[in-house]
């Protein structure tokens, strides 16, 4: 729901509807840690699906990672894919249902480590799908190990002295990489830890679904997010850390299209 039109005074007035949950989300407790960005990202995708009136024609793909249970929260038909293979699964769906809306929702380990090949090739074929890529710089699900996107010197459970880039390489900017491919029509990097950014991310998601619908190619949205548990921080501190460390390395904004 658009919230920008409601003034702060109106919001605190009793009886004002400031927020209406989307019908496309299941009304249940989420399994995500309090403060995690996955929940907001889920909601935005589902708000777009509802507002575009495409619930009946959308198939989502959950990855392996914290969002493996996305289908417990997103109230649409969904498939759960093996670790990293969501873009291949999406390709299979799209080839038999060219007119359905298909999106993958993937973490950085899923998309940029084990699934790099599937990601690059689905992008290169210009599959008319939407990829939602939640980059929290760490493997959240398995307890905070090094991810391909982990920042230099960042501590994780498998880089306890900080990421040594001489040993493990530099963080992989896969979003910039896929922007080079002609099959990819729209590439943007967004974040969801502040209300203004949430609104921008939603606009980007809507644009992405439209691009895929018009069969212009693949639409790729990176959402730079936090992992307060994996980063071993309080949620508020993790958002500040994200601003100060992740965003300089992963600058927000449109990269292509």
């Amino acid at each position: 729901m658009e919230q920008s039109t409601i003034s702060p005074e109106e919001i605190i007035k009793t009886g004002t509807v400031a927020f209406k949950p989307t019908k496309a989300m299941i009304d249940t407790n989420m399994s995500y840690c309090p403060g995690c960005g996955h929940g907001v990202a889920h909601r935005l995708v589902m708000e777009v699906v509802e507002e575009m009136g495409i619930i009946e024609d959308t198939i989502g793909i959950a990855p392996v990672g914290c969002s493996v249970l996305a289908y417990d929260f997103m109230d649409i038909d969904m498939q759960q894919a093996a670790h990293g293979r969501a873009p291949a699964v999406a390709t299979g769906i799209k080839r038999v249902f060219p007119n359905k809306h298909v999106f993958t929702y993937q973490g950085d380990g899923d998309l940029a480590a084990i699934g790099t090949s599937e990601t690059i090739h689905a992008c290169n074929r210009g599959e008319n799908i939407v990829i939602i890529f939640v980059n929290n710089g760490i493997y959240g699900m398995t307890g905070g190990q090094l991810a391909p996107t982990t920042l230099p010197n960042m501590k994780t459970s498998t880089s306890p002295y900080g990421r040594d880039v001489d040993m493990t390489g530099q963080p992989l900017k896969i979003t910039e990489m896929v922007a080079l491919l002609p099959g990819v029509a729209f590439v943007t990097r967004q974040a969801v830890h502040k209300p203004g950014l949430v609104r921008k991310t939603k606009k980007a998601i809507k644009k992405a679904f439209k691009i895929a619908e018009e069969k212009k190619g693949l639409a790729f949205i990176e959402i730079v997010s936090n992992c307060n548990s994996g980063w071993k921080m309080r949620p508020d501190a993790s958002n500040i850390w994200l601003e100060e460390n992740m965003l300089p390395f992963y600058p927000l904004g449109d990269i292509k299209g």
Binding site: I55, E56, D57, T58, I59, I61, A62, V68, L69, Y71, D75, I76, D77, M78, Q79, Q80, A81, A82, R85, A88, V89, A90, T91, G92, I93, K94, R95, V96, F97, K100, S117, E118, H121
Partner: protein, 361 residues
């Protein structure tokens, strides 16, 4: 009059996929099955039936494309050989766990490792005993002719959809590469989206309808008691398949004193071998498993009451022989014979093995 064609096994299988009304083929080149993808690309099935064909970036991608399409209630198929099937193993396990109907084809070459591109039957364990992780089974069909390469496409999909489980064609480089007469199946229409909805709308992901519960395809159950129940459900299904779908062929078994159990190319070679044995006065029958899982255990048990010894002939170091021994349970001697690593045994070698391993021992 029926149209009789002279075709390679791989080509007959490819043509049969178009004629069976398959919706999508996803593959990756590997000898000795590359003709499947080549034939399909050349035929342009999207113009004939609307079937999609895609060369994937890897076998991993290909089988996961099958997963996506199969989860939409569509007929999806992939083919490969040993090294590629090993890569597909993870997704095959997911497909079995998520109960998706599809068809996977292995035209077997000699291994282990990169091995050889020459024919072999050394992927029996992989196909029949698992290959991927977890308690699952595949319906495994073993064609012994170019005709069966064509016919088992339809049979495989019928079984896969009947039981909502993956079916597997375990062929070999001989059957895939050889040319024989074949009567191709008639052209079936592909199902329309409305028909798919009517038939499989209760489980397939077609988009959540307003008045229906949504569909989720997953193999995940974090709660062990739920996973256990799901596994029981799979086991009940496998028991049903075992009861209904065990297939085999008996050749010259009525008055046989010895038995060869062989599938695929080895069954063909053994047919000549038993003629040679007959010339030497020995009555040898053949029991040819058509389904390797479910395995024709009872039929072999019956034969064990009649014969003095059984030879499992397979181009491997001895894989199917273990299932023959389990069936026979020590009642009569069970021996293994087979060349492997890409070598093919001759009828004379098989005939000699019957004498050496069963008769004169």
């Amino acid at each position: 009059m029926e149209e009789v064609h002279l075709m390679k096994g791989n080509e007959a299988l490819a043509e049969a996929t178009i004629r069976t009304g398959v919706d999508a083929y996803f593959g990756y080149p590997i000898t000795p099955q590359s003709e499947v993808l080549e034939y399909l690309m050349n035929e342009q099935p999207h113009l004939r039936t609307g079937m999609a064909v895609l060369q994937a970036e890897s076998e991993l991608a290909a089988i996961n494309m099958v997963y996506g399409a199969a989860a939409c209630g569509k007929k999806a198929i992939t083919s490969s050989s040993g090294p590629g099937i090993s890569l597909k193993a993870e997704a095959i396990s997911y497909i079995a766990g998520a109960e998706l109907p599809c068809l996977i084809v292995n035209v077997v070459r000699g291994g282990a490792g990169l091995g050889t591109i020459q024919p072999s039957q050394s992927d029996y364990f992989q196909a029949v005993k698992g290959g991927g992780h977890g308690d699952y089974k595949l319906i495994v069909l073993a064609p012994a002719s170019v005709q069966e390469m064509a016919d088992f496409v339809d049979l495989g999909f019928k079984l896969a959809f009947k039981y909502r489980t993956p079916a597997f064609i375990l062929s070999d480089g001989v059957i895939g590469q050889m040319m024989e007469k074949v009567i191709l199946p008639p052209q079936q229409e592909r199902l329309t989206d409305a028909q798919v909805d009517e038939l499989y709308g209760d489980w397939a992901t077609l988009g959540k309808k307003k008045n229906k519960p949504r569909n989720v395809i997953t193999s995940l159950a974090l709660k062990p008691e739920i996973q256990e129940e799901h596994n029981h459900h799979l086991q009940r299904k496998y028991a049903e398949i075992t009861k209904n779908e065990t297939r085999f062929e008996k050749i010259n078994c009525d008055d046989a004193n010895y038995l060869i159990v062989a599938y695929g190319a080895s069954a063909r070679i053994s047919q000549k071998a038993i003629t040679l044995a007959k010339e030497k006065g020995l009555k040898v029958g053949i029991l040819r498993p058509i389904t390797l899982w479910p395995f024709p255990t009872e039929a072999i048990q019956e034969m064990a009451k009649q014969v003095k010894g059984i030879l499992a002939v397979e181009m491997s170091a001895g894989q199917m022989v273990e299932d023959v021994r389990l069936a026979v349970n020590g009642k009569v001697p069970v021996e293994h014979y087979g060349r492997f690593g890409g070598m093919i045994h001759s009828p004379t070698e098989v005939c000699n093995a019957v004498f050496e391993k069963l008769v004169n021992c």
